[in-house]
Symmetry: D3
Subunit: 69 residues, 6 copies
């Protein structure tokens, strides 16, 4: 019955990549802990580079986030 929340910066992650991440995490939890995939939730939150900081500086100040949308 796990709930997993993955936060990443928003930079053109494709649906195929998201699918690979959620299925990978779900399988891992099943394999290591015996968790039932039917009640495993994985949520991906894509955070704008203006809204995430490391070392006290917004990511958008540190590098180019090529956000096409």
């Amino acid at each position: 019955m796990p709930y997993v929340n993955v936060k990443i910066t928003k930079e053109n992650t494709t649906k195929e990549q998201k699918q690979e991440i959620v299925s990978g995490i779900t399988s891992l939890l099943e394999r290591v802990l015996g968790k039932n995939p039917k009640t495993t939730f994985v949520i991906i939150e894509e955070i704008d580079c203006d809204n995430w900081s490391i070392e006290g500086m917004l990511v958008s100040q540190r590098r180019d986030c090529t956000e096409t949308k």
Copy 2:
């Protein structure tokens, strides 16, 4: 002083439905635990169907999320 975070898939939830959910949860916490509504926060986060999975599969792969916006 409760803080409640409700995550649902994004699929045309109306403002009236949101109002009903937040007032319902606030009343419930007041009735059961005596929590003061004046300091009860409820936040609703609507997650894109491409970003939520169950059973290792994105919701957008499983069914149609008729997101009009």
Copy 3:
């Protein structure tokens, strides 16, 4: 498929009260949004009064949290 996280201060909430809260929220989401209870998660997190502040002051400084445990 909702995921709900309820954060309250830790002060002797009973199992019966918790049961009332989780069933109340689950029913509300089913009634208002048609969400399936079988895939509705509610998690209650009880936060120590030393670790929660309002108005810039820890709850444990503001009032007595009669935490028996």
Copy 4:
């Protein structure tokens, strides 16, 4: 190695204000707890006024959120 999540209502917060918040929090954690800024994350989440309630009422019902975007 702290992780800080700041949730505010979405109402035209500028990049400069965000920068001031993230650097202020990072410095505070370094000064008070000796936390290394290189591994301090701060994330700001801006929540639509239709999705946040206090006292059981959506913020958008309580006041004008002059969201220009």
Copy 5:
């Protein structure tokens, strides 16, 4: 720079299992999205079975959570 939060019920997960989960998720994010492990955080939160519900019923009502600690 991902931040991952894994919530599971508290039932004697060992340190070895936790290590396997965090390294597995970190590798997955590196392989699929090119995320740098040096700035990848994974946090595991173990939730008491009295504080987690599915289908409107606390896990501790549904089955035995053999919590030895």
Copy 6:
């Protein structure tokens, strides 16, 4: 009406340090964004060193977390 969640590793943070953090963050949000302290929540979550990883390794594997309690 901000809600701030601060996650740090659990290693003997004192009540005085916690008080300094919560009042510092509350003041910062008031000064930069004009947020009302009366409706500003700050929650500190102390995560066991066995439950937090960076670079795919649990903190408890990387260094000594002198947790006296």
